[in-house]
Every structure is written in C-alpha cells, then in structure tokens.
Symmetry: C2
Subunit: 405 residues, 2 copies
Amino acid sequence: MGTAGCRLGYSDRVTGHVNGLGRNLDGVRRGNLSTVLRLVHRTGAASRSQITQFTGLNRSTVAALVGELVERELVVENDPEATSRVGRPSPIVTPHRGPVAIAVNPEVDAITVAIVGLSARVDRRVRREVDHPVTPQETAQIVAQELAGLSAELADRRVVGIGLAVPGLVRSADNTVRWAPHLAWTDSAIVPLVEAATGRPARAGNDASLGGWAEHLFGVGRGIDDLIYLNGGASGIGGGVISAGSALGGHRGFAGEFGQNRPGFTDPADQRTVHGTLEDEVSRARLLAVLGIPGGDEAALEAALVNSSTPAVREELARQRRVLAVALSNAINVLNPELVVLGGFLASVYASGPEELERDVAALAVSAAWEGTRIRPAGLGEDRLMIGAAELAFSALLADPAGDF
Amino acid sequence: MGTAGCRLGYSDRVTGHVNGLGRNLDGVRRGNLSTVLRLVHRTGAASRSQITQFTGLNRSTVAALVGELVERELVVENDPEATSRVGRPSPIVTPHRGPVAIAVNPEVDAITVAIVGLSARVDRRVRREVDHPVTPQETAQIVAQELAGLSAELADRRVVGIGLAVPGLVRSADNTVRWAPHLAWTDSAIVPLVEAATGRPARAGNDASLGGWAEHLFGVGRGIDDLIYLNGGASGIGGGVISAGSALGGHRGFAGEFGQNRPGFTDPADQRTVHGTLEDEVSRARLLAVLGIPGGDEAALEAALVNSSTPAVREELARQRRVLAVALSNAINVLNPELVVLGGFLASVYASGPEELERDVAALAVSAAWEGTRIRPAGLGEDRLMIGAAELAFSALLADPAGDF
DNA sequence: GTAATATGTTGTTCGAATCAACAATCAAAA
DNA sequence: TTTTGATTGTTGATTCGAACAACATATTAC
C-alpha cells in the first residue's frame, strides 16, 4: 500500500464544526470515516489490517468504521486473498459498485459525459458532437438528455453528483465560470443550470487543474504530494499545482494558469511573438504548422512527430523545449515540486528530447530545488478529465461519508 | 476579532496520532488547545466569548480549554474590559508573559539574537557584529554566548526553543541548511550545533519565507490566507508563498526562490544581463549605482530615492518596475493570491510608482486572476525576521500546548 | 500436530465535548 | 430605582467514540 500522503482533499476540509475550527466527537467520526473511505477509494483495495496501519487507529475502531461504510453501501468486504503470511488473513475492503459520479467536459466541438465509479474507473463514456459552441443552457440540456439516455445503465447504481471540467476559469467560492474563452462563457452560473436540468448536485472546476488532481491521485503523481501539472491542449496550456497533497486553488480558485505567463528566453532568437504568452510560444498549432498537417487528435500528432522528423520539425521541437525549460525552471524555483507532469502535446515535446529538456532545466533552476525533482509524461489517457471531474462530484461524499446523499 | 483563517500551521499538522491519519479523543483535545492558543497568540487578546464564537465549541468546553492553558502558564485571564454591551462581560485571554522564543538571524556582517514573547513582540534584540563570515560552529558559539548574556532577562521566563532565519535554502525534512551562498554554508547541520551549544531545541528556516509567514500572521497579510511575499535584500530577492493559510514549502522546503527566476521582458531594452535572473535585473545594487551612493540601510536607500529623483534614477526605477511587473503577473497567474507583499527595496521600487506597477501587472496577468489581488508594501519593520524565526520556535508548542516543553 | 504470529470480535472503560439548569453581570426600559 | 432582557460563566449529568483487554480464529513455521 503506497503511502497516500497526508492532506486528502480537493478544496474541502474536515473539521468538527461546520463553522469554526473547534473539534468535537462528531468531527472525529466524520474524519475517520472520510479517511478510511478515501484510502479505499484511492488504493482501489485495502485490507482491514492495512487500514489499521495507515490510520494508526485501533483494530476494533477500524472494524466499526468499515462496518458503517459497508452498511451505507460505500464499500464491500471481500474474503481475504492468499498472502502467504503468518497470522489470520484480513478481509479486503473495496469500493462499492453502487455510487457513481457523472463527469462532464464541455468543449467547443463536443460535450463528453461519463459514468465514473467510486473505484475511479470510467464505466461508460458518451460524446455528443455539437456544430456550434454551446451555451450554458444548452450544455445543461444536453447533460440532462445524455443522463436520461444512460438511465438503463444507472438503474442499479446511485448517482452521487455531477462534476464539470470546464476549459476556463472557475471561481471556487460559488462554482461560477468566470471566463471560458473558447466556449464564450462569461460569469456563467452553469452549476445551478445543470442542477435544475438534472435534479442532481453539481460542481465545476478548471479542466487542467482537475486533470492534475487526477494525475496526483491515480496517474504518475500517485503518492506524490508536491507536483505541478502542465497540459498542452489545442486551445493552449493549462495546469494545476498540488502542494502538500492539496490542490492549490488560490484566493478565487484561478491558480494554475501557466499558459498565460510571459516566458523568459535563454536565446532571444527563440522568441516568436511580441508580448506573447507561453502558450503563444509553445503551442500545438506551431507544431502542426511545421509538420504541415491540419489537425487531428493527440495520437495523430505524436505519430506525425515520430514519422516526419525533418530538420525544421526537430528545430521547432528544440525551440519549444528551450522555452518550456525556462518556464519549468521558474515554476520549480517557486514551488519546489517533487514531480513535473506534462500532458497533451507537452508530453510529445518532452518525449522529443527528455535529456535535453532536463539538462536545460537543471542549468536554469536553483540546483537544490531541482535536485529531487523529476519530469514525467502524464500517466492517465483521455480519461484524465473524466476522473478529475468525478472526483469533484465525489468530494462531498468523501469528506462526509455519513452525510445524506 | 479578525478572522484568523483556517489552516493554522507553519509546516506542522494536528492529527490524532503521531503516525497515521486517524483521529481520536486525544487529537481532539490537542487540536482544540492548539486552536485556542493560536488564536490568542495571533490576536494578542481574545475574550472567552470570542473564542467560543470562533471555535464553535460549547461555552463549557472553552472554559475547560482556557483553564488548562492557564494552568500550564501559557495564557492569562484578565478582568473584562468595559464593552458597553448587554450581558455578562467575558474575561480577556492574553498570552502569558512567561514563554519566549529565541530568534536568530545569522548574516554576513552580524548575528542578531532576539527574545520574542508569545504575544509576538520583540522584547529584546542584540546584534553581534562579526568581521568575517561565520561558520556554523561559530554561529552556535555566538548564540550560546549571547543567550548567556541575556540570562538575567530570561530569569523569570521560560525559553521554549530557538528559531533560526537563515539566508539560504533550508531542507524542511531535517532542518539542514542545504546552501547559504553568502555565509558559504553547504549541507550544514546548524540545528544540532545550536542545540548542543545551548541545550535547547532549535529549528531553522529560510529567512524570506519566515518573513512572509510573519507578514501573514502579524503584518499587512494578517487574516489573508493566500499571499505571496517578495523581499528585496542586499544579497538578492527571496520570497515565500502562503496558500490556504499554510506556508508553501514544496517537496524539500526550498519553495519561494522568486529571485532565481529568469524574467520575461515586455521591452527587450529593459534587459541588462545575459541569462540573468530576476535579482540580477531588479536589484538594490543597480539602484545604489544610479544613485551614486555606496550603501547603507533600508531607510537610507528610501531617503536617497525620495531626495534625488534625477531622470536616470527615475528611469532605472521605472525599468525595475516593468521587469518586476512581469515577474509578479506570472506569479499571480500561477498562484492567484489575494495579496502581494513587497518588502525591502522592492517596497521602495513599488512606492516609486504604485499605479504604474499595478497598471502593468493588470495588463499582463490573467484579468480574472488579478481582479481580487492587491499589492502592498510590507507592514512589519526589521522585526519581521525575528518574529518569523520565533514562530518557528513556537511551532511545536502551538501545535501541542499540552506537550512537555 | 504444536507453537508462534497476526488479526477479527466482544464487552468494558475512559475521556472529551455537549447539554441543561442556574448564577452572574451588564444595558435598556419602565 | 426597579425591572426586564440579553449574554456569559459555572456546574453536574449525559452522550458518544476510540482505546483496551481478553478471547477467538486463521494462517505459517517447525
């Protein structure tokens, strides 16, 4: 059982009281139920004795906690596996099949809706193509329709809530979409719309931040409490910061906008724009242009990069690596992460010359800060956003498993 | 009573168990004692009824908690003040005079030692000049000597511990000074040396990060849970990040090295160095050079800037403002702070043209991220580092007031 | 087959917060 | 000046959850 870190929440806390910082017995019970459920949720399966070790609680207490979670149909206890170890075998606790989250990702060209179980696996995934940028109202309608279409699959399951991964800035205080340029949403109260259309509780978050959260929980960042995540998408570069096991949101929840930064350059010749942002300089569009192909998905780009490695392509990749290296070294100086996760086309940029990128970062960053840091491509595929969004929907349940949902 | 935020710790957590995440009754008690003591420590004085409101705990519980803290000589209950409000007056709880921290700041030219009370006031401050950069061994010796010299003043008080604010990178895991360029310390185990020389527990931290922590607790950042702090010193630019009320340390504790970043430039003509860092471009030395004065302290620089505002000085200030604006906007995009605190000569750079700097930052940063953000000069004077270092010494006591110290 | 080890199970104990009732102290109204 | 209402401190009984100890169970090692 890998150590699952210490802080456990995506923008929620567990204290005794709803208001105030005091702790009481209720808070202890709630916190312990939450800790056990989170552990099972994250690891996928944990024996009772492992839970005892992890929590430091008494055997009998763990038995009571697991018992309550079983009663609430949140976890299942299975017969112990053969472990070839001395002592009485311990039953294996796994997430219950029942509870599910609905993950939603509205994009310019399509809205993706997925059913995600408490074991963080995407059970079903539907993609509804749209011929025009959808409004929040249309989005809510489509989500409701797709949900109705999935009713057969959801018959024997319990929908806990809906999580939306939105390509834009989401204000954490009220889950309002402050600005989503590609969808042309401004100050949109998407969450109440979705809640009204579906009759289910919803939450929204920034797509890239949720992707980073998913990588922290279930991807290459599993068990790593300090990481930064940068995702290269068609529309730019988004990101997220995990610090001490918690997602860093900032004052309003807008943190992680690495793509909008003004990059520094080690070589002035690398600069392609005037007053440009990182995502103007390091971009998918520039790679496609030099490759001479119109577009396509992530795999197509990766394949094209591998196949056609002309000098022009190699040089553009090298340039983007150099610019990225400055941006990463700055982030490493400020945040001192253990891991830098690169997703989308940034993973391709990294893959084109990992040693070169790492050498440049090492030269630029404070050497002590870089010492313990690694760079890795993202581990989760296209399920990343769905898993992150589902986590948002599960967050209330995970924070208070005994609440009414 | 200003809301004192939610997360409460400088790199320490309050859970039930020493190991593991489980919560138990011991943890509840410890956490509540900690919360009450922290509140009194931060606010300087709080009535019992205010503590009740803040914690959300029952009156009788608060009475018991305060009673225990009184018994342990950590707080004092005084007669209520005349409040002109209905109802029975509530006694005022203030920090006890007894417990003190010893704050230490080793620098190239001197070692400063201070006595700081639980009310976060610097009671005494001694400065020992040195004619050569001191070694860790010499530092420990000097601290022990100064402490002996202060023994009369410490006679009726209880020294809780020693906190060192070191101008260098301090590894959080073992409090080792990884690298302090100006002191020429590398991988120095200063903490055990000080502990051996004084017989008291010690902790070390980065000076700028501790300054930021002090500003968050007692300066302009009081009550603000998301801020970034940049300090301009003679030797460069250091900083710290407070996120969700906790100091952001990163994986090893090296976070906050804003000064080592490679800056972006809105105008190529602003660049003075090749491959330079932010602290090469925005520096105290460049200001002194254009002013034509050799050195001096913070106040001298500020006075010189106010008096001699030649075009050359104004232009250098404007240039540094422009470069700083890019650096700040990048940090704001990534961290979305509510407040940016500028200390040292950076406060002077800001003061030379607050509107201009803010206008530039507004133009560069993601507008939504900048919206709720303010920039302010640091509020604490030269006591900042001493208060921050003392906080380090108090941290164990604050986390567990019932422990043995 | 027996010993050793680890873990589940059960009933009891302990500790901390809560609650209710009462006392104390103030301001404002009568 | 007295009365009323509001707020808070104080006290003893209650409640609830984790810890504990003793015992039961299941596995490996010899």
